[in-house]
Each structure stands twice: as structure tokens, then as C-alpha cells.
């Protein structure tokens, strides 16, 4: 049975106090509109230890696990999804460095990252190709002790302001196969990188998304993360963590939208009754609460299995994300409906939860990716003639 430990409850409480004290709705709305990153609050979160709770203490991390990370993400997003996602995704894909990088690289980048000084981005998807790894065209050539990288990646989170990128590259000397890709860390200061901001999005608007082009970008040999040729395997391992984290954000979004809706229906009267007394409202709330409870359970379970070194986690994490995103969409949509006209107005917050839910489903990895992960694990080997 899943039950939070005392220290986990402590983290949750601390995160709640932080967002209650520091996150301001009006400021957040303004920043969302202008597409600005909440840098000041990121620094505060860093100081209080809310960044990278699942990173080693050596690198200024919290030394805890994904469960704790989920609790923080969920609590942040429940209060304010756009800001919550910003404070959670500033270091997107940096787990690749943590899990696969060498000590020197980690020492160089991670403390600054976890201090909120720099950001990180993941370069995994390509225009027109998406996450179909074997079709990808970003190439790395090994040359005089350095990697020379050429290619274009899209949908790069923190693309415009990352301190470093984690880049999936194919070894030109090899044919496309699952063993032909490297995962390489590229410092954003490297020559030959050009970044095009994708502009305003459906949601998640405090974080930039960009297209990043690599034109003869040269990086030192030791910027290879993990073993050569293991890029895809490593990326899939990273996506386990990333799916769990996204699921936690989605659960927070759903819960946040639910909180607002519940408060509203208990106050608002129509036809002489509180909205919360109408059976249809009650059924809607029952559905929403059930969906949230299930998604949360699945997410914590996946996180907990991850922390305990569980195997065969890839599809469980994918299930958690897929489901939590569906929940976040359904619950925030219904929350708008329960608010009526007020729900469509900016100040209601629920419309923004809805848009951030959509962004959570669309960005990071799409549902089609999760479906294939789940299917291949579930179906197993197919014997063909």
C-alpha cells in the first residue's frame, strides 16, 4: 500500500508553504502573458532546496528520490501550473547528465544548474521526424578528440536560455540502428549553434521552446554521456524519469483545477441551490476526484518503484504520464464548465490550468510515444512466419 513517509509529508508541507508564500497570482498572469521565466522565484526555490531534490547532495541536490520530486512538482503545479512547470522543467533532461555523465562534467554543470544559475534543454526530437529515433539526422563525427555535430532539433525545452543541451546524435560511421546513437552534452556557448524561439504556445508559457540548429559544433570528447552507441537506451531510461515527472505535474494541474472548481460550486448559487447540491455537479466531482486519485496513485507508484530500483518500469511510467495527462485535461475542462462564464475569463485560473494541461500532453513526449512503449512491453514478442 502506498503511504507517504513522515519526511515525505514534511517535504510536501514545505513545498506548500513555499508556494503559498511566494507565488502571486497577478504576477504570474502577467509573466505568463509576456512569456517570462520566473527567475527570482527559481533562485528562492533553489535556496530552499526545492530544485533537484532527486539529485545527489554532492552537486547541491536534495539527495532524495523521484517520490519527493513528484511531491514538489505536484504541489507547485497545484498552486500555479505555469509557474510550477517552469520551476520543475528549468533543468529538463539534466537527469541524463546526472545518471550517465562523468564526474568532471557533473561537477562543472550540476551545481550551477541546481543553484538556478543555468538551465538545460533536451535535443531529442527533429522536425518532421519527431521521436522516431532511427530516422533522425543529427550526426556526430569523432574527429581529433572532439565531436563535430550537425543537424537540427526541434521542440527543445529551455531552447533559448539553456546553459547546456543534451543532444541525441547518430554516429555517421554506422547505419541507423538502436546502437548507433550517442548522447552528447553540448555547452550552449559553443560556436555554430543557432536557436529559433517557437514563440507563444498553448500553455507552459514561462518556458521557452525552440528549434536548435547545430552547424559544425565542436565539443570535447568527454562530453559523451555514458557509453558510445547507447544514446537511445539512455534516452529511454531518461524518459522513465521524465514521464514520472510530467505525470506528477499533470496530477498537480488536475488537483489545482479541481480545488478551484470545488470552492466555486460550494459558494455559487443557481436556482436557489448551491451548485454543489445538484446531482449532476456531484457526479462530475465524483468523476474528477476518482480520476485524480487514480492518476496520483499510479504516479507515486511509478516513482516509488523507480526509487527502489525496480525493473520493467518503462511502460508503468508511460502509463502514469498518459493517464495523468488525460486526467488533467478532463478535470480542467470540467472545472471551466463548472465555473460557467467566469471559467473562460483569465482571472479564474482554471482556463490556464486547461491550457497547461494541454501543453503537458503535447510537449515533452507525445502520447503516441507512450502508447508504443506500453504496447511493446505488453504485447511482447510476436512470432511471425
Amino acid at each position: 500500500m502506498f503511504e507517504l513517509t513522515k519526511s515525505q509529508k514534511g517535504i510536501q508541507k514545505a513545498a506548500l508553504e513555499f508556494v503559498k508564500g511566494e507565488l502571486d497570482k497577478d504576477i504570474s498572469f502577467k509573466m505568463e502573458k509576456e512569456g517570462k521565466f520566473p527567475e527570482k522565484i527559481l533562485r528562492q526555490a533553489a535556496e530552499l532546496g526545492f530544485l533537484g531534490v532527486h539529485f545527489d547532495e554532492t552537486y547541491l541536490g536534495g539527495g532524495m528520490g523521484q517520490v519527493e520530486n513528484c511531491l514538489v512538482s505536484e504541489t507547485f503545479c497545484r498552486k500555479d501550473a505555469t509557474m510550477g512547470k517552469a520551476l520543475t522543467l528549468w533543468g529538463y533532461a539534466s537527469e541524463c547528465l546526472l545518471r550517465f555523465g562523468n564526474d568532471k562534467l557533473k561537477e562543472h554543470y550540476l551545481p550551477r544548474l541546481l543553484d538556478g544559475e543555468i538551465f538545460s534543454g533536451g535535443c531529442f526530437s527533429e522536425p518532421g521526424i519527431g521521436l522516431n529515433f532511427l530516422s533522425q539526422n543529427t550526426i556526430a563525427i569523432q574527429q581529433e578528440g572532439r565531436w563535430i555535430i550537425n543537424g537540427i532539433k526541434n521542440n527543445v525545452m529551455n531552447g533559448t536560455n539553456a546553459g547546456f543541451y543534451i543532444v541525441l546524435c547518430r554516429d555517421r560511421s554506422q547505419k541507423a540502428s538502436t546502437d548507433a546513437f550517442h548522447m552528447i552534452l553540448v555547452d550552449a556557448e559553443s560556436k555554430g549553434i543557432s536557436v529559433t524561439d517557437s514563440g507563444r504556445k498553448i500553455g507552459n508559457n514561462m518556458i521557452s521552446t525552440a528549434q536548435v540548429a547545430f552547424n559544425d559544433v565542436s565539443v570535447p570528447e568527454n562530453h559523451l554521456l555514458g557509453k558510445p552507441g547507447k544514446g537511445i537506451a539512455q534516452l529511454r531510461r531518461f524518459f522513465i524519469e521524465s514521464h514520472i515527472a510530467s505525470a506528477a505535474q499533470a496530477v498537480g494541474i488536475a488537483q489545482g483545477a479541481f480545488d478551484r472548481a470545488l470552492e466555486h460550486v460550494k459558494q455559487r448559487e443557481q436556482f436557489g441551490k448551491k451548485l454543489a447540491q445538484f446531482q449532476v455537479t456531484r457526479n462530475k466531482l465524483a468523476d474528477m476526484a476518482t480520476q485524480i486519485e487514480m492518476s496520483r496513485l499510479m504516479t507515486y507508484t511509478a516513482a516509488s518503484k523507480f526509487d527502489n530500483g525496480g525493473k520493467k518500469l518503462e511502460h508503468i511510467a508511460a502509463m502514469a504520464k498518459k493517464n495523468a495527462c488525460e486526467t488533467a485535461m478532463a478535470v480542467s475542462d470540467e472545472a471551466i464548465q463548472l465555473f460557467g462564464g467566469y471559467g473562460y475569463m483569465g482571472e479564474s485560473e482554471v482556463e490556464r490550468f486547461y491550457r497547461d494541461a494541454k501543453a503537458t500532453a503535447l510537449f515533452e513526449t507525445p502520447e503516441s510515444y507512450q502508447n508504443e512503449i506500453i504496447a511493446s512491453e505488453t504485447i511482447g514478442k510476436i512470432r511471425t512466419k
Binding site: S198, K201, F271, M329, G340, K358, A359, F363
Partner: protein, 387 residues
């Protein structure tokens, strides 16, 4: 078999409006979205070109066209993915109160201006504490000598900044029966005592201005009453069929836009051999959505004809209203899913605007929950066979 048989004149009108949108409207959409307002000049341009109130009789400056002209304008605006150009509220929802209930003098005073876009109208019904529940309306209208004194506030007033004339619902505080207490009034926007509130920020439909209205001892002549005293409730009810129908027409056309755009994107992806188009799941999703659309279109087109024939199809239009607006929401969202991350980027994908705009359709013109309530009540209280 086409359900609606448009004439050549209809087709020509559609073509003309489509070109007008392309040249005179769409290039400015971003600007007006940012300004959260469509300039009054543009309303006048729409009017001068015959795209406002096409059904108003010639005697009052209109073109005296059939309702299909209205349908064409609504459809083309939605297919241009610009619900924020909320002209149908003026042309097909508010002005019809005047054409149906106004005195000759009122008609002569206002309709010609409505047709040419000199007068933009709004309807003020909803109150902060009474959403769909008209009976709990608190704005009062008290007759005093030759005047009516109005006090109270109204909210979610579409065209609230631009409007020159307001169809207002208010109650007689002396009358206890809520169904007899409400009257309608025509209030000019520059009447002393009427103040427009600040504009609401909204999820979508950014060009469309929505505000609150405050009435503080706002004094209008008795001649400003629209229709019989105390008949407001009934007058409002009488107009719901058209209001719901135009909402459904708009929703279907919006779904059409989303699907048309997405199907074209996939056709291109197929030609480019992109992985997106190879997805069998996406292909099935498109098949499902197009089917949903075709069914709705058949249903709504049938209702358009019934409405034009003067039939009572309030039950069916309530069905169409909730169903097509839910569907537009679902379709705009699901199309985006098929495009994966690309679907969420405003600059690349017009579906983002559609997604943000259509979310209001299931809320306005009576929430979809209200529709279902009406349908169920009618269904169970009647003894008619369904078939």
C-alpha cells in the same frame, strides 16, 4: 443530396464575403487580438458591404435577404478561424429583438444604423450573481413619470466596449412573480448613469470585447421599453431558437475549419512521407472526427431549413447547441494531439486559436448543462414518440 440548396446568389455572396475577410479582415487579426478590440470602422465596413444583418427588411435599410445569408456570414467567419469577430451576436441575436419587438419608431431610429454598422448592439441579461438563472435577476427598472430609472449591474457583455445600443433585461421591483417582472429596454450606450466596466481578459476570442455594465440611476424615456411591459421573460424565450441555432452553425463551421486544416496538413505530410501521416491511429482519428462533423452538419442544416420554415424546433436546436459545441471543443483539441508538439505552437498552428476560442461555445447562449436540462424536461413531460 445536399440538404440545403444554395442558389447562385448565395454562392456569390459567400465568395464575396470570403474575399472581404481575406483582404480586409484577416491581415489585421493579430493586431486586433492584441488590442482586444475590433475598430468601429471595421464594423462600418462590414455593414456598408452588406455583411451585417442581411435579413433586415429593405424598409429599414436592410437587404431583406433570407436566413441563409446569415448562415453564410456565420460559417465564413468560423471557417476563417476568427470567432473573435463576433458579428453574429449583433446581426442574429440582438438586432432580431428589435426587428421582432420594437415599435415602428424604434425600428426607424435604430435598424438602419444597425445594418450599416453605425450602431453596434449588445444584450445585457446575465448578472454577476445570476448566470443562467434569469429569475434571480436583480437589476431594477422603475417607471417614474415619463422615464424609467435603471439600477444594477450586468456582466459578460459581449461587444461591451464597442456597443452603442443595449437590449437590457431588468425587473420591476414591485412585481413578485419573476416571470412577469422582467421587461426589455433599449438603452443607448451614452445614456448618463450607464458606465462600462473594465474589459475582461479571456482565454480566447481576444478581439471580442467583453465588459461589465453598471447602471446607476440610469434614466431612459418610457419609449425605450422594448415590447410589452413584463413580457421580458417570454420575449427572451422566443428568441432562443435562433440564438442556439446560430451558435450551432458557428460551432460546426469551426469544427470544419479545424478538420479541413488538419486533413490538409496530413495530405501534405503524406506527400512528404512524414511519419505523422503513416500513423494508422491518426488516420482513424481523422475518420472518426470527419464522421462526427458530417452528422452534425446534416442535423444542423436540417434545422436551418426548419427554422426558416417557421417551425418550432427549440428542442432540436438545444440538442444541436450542446452537441456541436462539445464537438468543436473535442475536435480542436484532438486535431492538435495528432500534430503532436507542433499542434501547440501558436505561430505554426492556427488550431491553438481555435482551441482557445471554442471553449466558450459550451458556456454561452445557455450552458450545455442548461440545454440538457431543457431537453430532458421536455422529453419526460411529453408523451410523444421519439421516432
Amino acid at each position: 443530396m445536399e440538404i440545403i440548396n444554395y442558389t447562385d446568389e448565395h454562392h456569390e455572396y459567400r465568395q464575396r464575403f470570403r474575399s472581404f475577410l481575406e483582404t480586409d479582415i484577416l491581415p489585421h487579426k493579430n493586431q486586433w487580438d492584441n488590442a482586444q478590440l475590433i475598430p468601429k470602422d471595421i464594423w462600418k465596413k462590414l455593414g456598408k458591404n452588406g455583411f451585417l444583418c442581411p435579413t433586415v427588411e429593405k424598409a429599414y435599410g436592410g437587404a431583406g435577404q433570407d436566413f441563409l445569408y446569415s448562415v453564410i456570414v456565420i460559417e465564413e467567419i468560423a471557417r476563417a478561424n476568427y470567432l473573435g469577430l463576433f458579428a453574429y451576436l449583433h446581426s442574429e441575436v440582438v438586432v432580431p429583438y428589435i426587428t421582432a419587438y420594437a415599435t415602428e419608431a424604434q425600428k426607424m431610429a435604430y435598424l438602419p444604423g444597425c445594418v450599416v454598422g453605425d450602431i453596434i448592439t449588445a444584450v445585457a441579461m446575465t448578472e454577476p450573481d445570476a448566470g443562467s438563472d434569469l429569475a434571480s435577476m436583480v437589476t431594477t427598472a422603475v417607471e417614474q413619470d415619463d422615464h424609467i430609472i435603471i439600477n444594477g449591474s450586468k456582466t459578460f457583455i459581449s461587444n461591451g466596449v464597442n456597443c452603442d445600443l443595449i437590449v437590457l433585461a431588468a425587473r420591476d421591483p414591485q412585481e413578485k412573480n419573476p416571470h412577469k417582472a422582467i421587461s426589455l429596454f433599449l438603452v443607448e450606450a451614452d445614456t448618463p448613469g450607464l458606465k462600462k466596466g473594465v474589459q475582461f481578459e479571456k482565454m480566447g476570442m481576444h478581439s471580442q470585447d467583453t465588459t461589465e455594465l453598471f447602471f446607476n440611476n440610469c434614466k431612459i424615456p418610457v419609449s425605450g421599453r422594448l415590447g410589452p411591459k413584463g413580457a421580458g421573460f417570454k420575449l427572451l424565450m422566443n428568441k432562443l431558437q435562433q440564438e442556439r441555432l446560430v451558435c450551432a452553425v458557428s460551432a460546426v463551421a469551426c469544427s470544419e475549419f479545424c478538420l479541413e486544416w488538419t486533413v490538409n496538413y496530413f495530405r501534405q505530410a503524406l506527400a512528404d512521407k512524414s511519419h505523422l501521416a503513416r500513423s494508422q491511429a491518426s488516420q482513424f482519428a481523422l475518420a472518426e472526427m470527419v464522421t462526427e462533423l458530417k452528422m452534425e452538419k446534416a442535423f444542423v442544416n436540417g434545422l436551418v431549413l426548419s427554422h426558416m420554415a417557421g417551425e418550432n424546433v427549440i428542442l432540436e436546436t438545444s440538442m444541436a447547441k450542446f452537441s456541436t459545441t462539445d464537438s468543436a471543443k473535442r475536435i480542436s483539441s484532438r486535431c492538435m494531439d495528432l500534430l503532436e508538439e507542433m499542434g501547440g505552437i501558436e505561430g505554426n498552428c492556427p488550431l491553438v486559436d481555435a482551441f482557445n476560442d471554442v471553449r466558450v461555445l459550451s458556456i454561452y447562449a445557455g450552458t450545455n448543462e442548461i440545454m440538457k436540462q431543457i431537453i430532458a424536461k421536455e422529453l419526460l413531460s411529453s408523451s410523444k414518440s421519439l421516432c
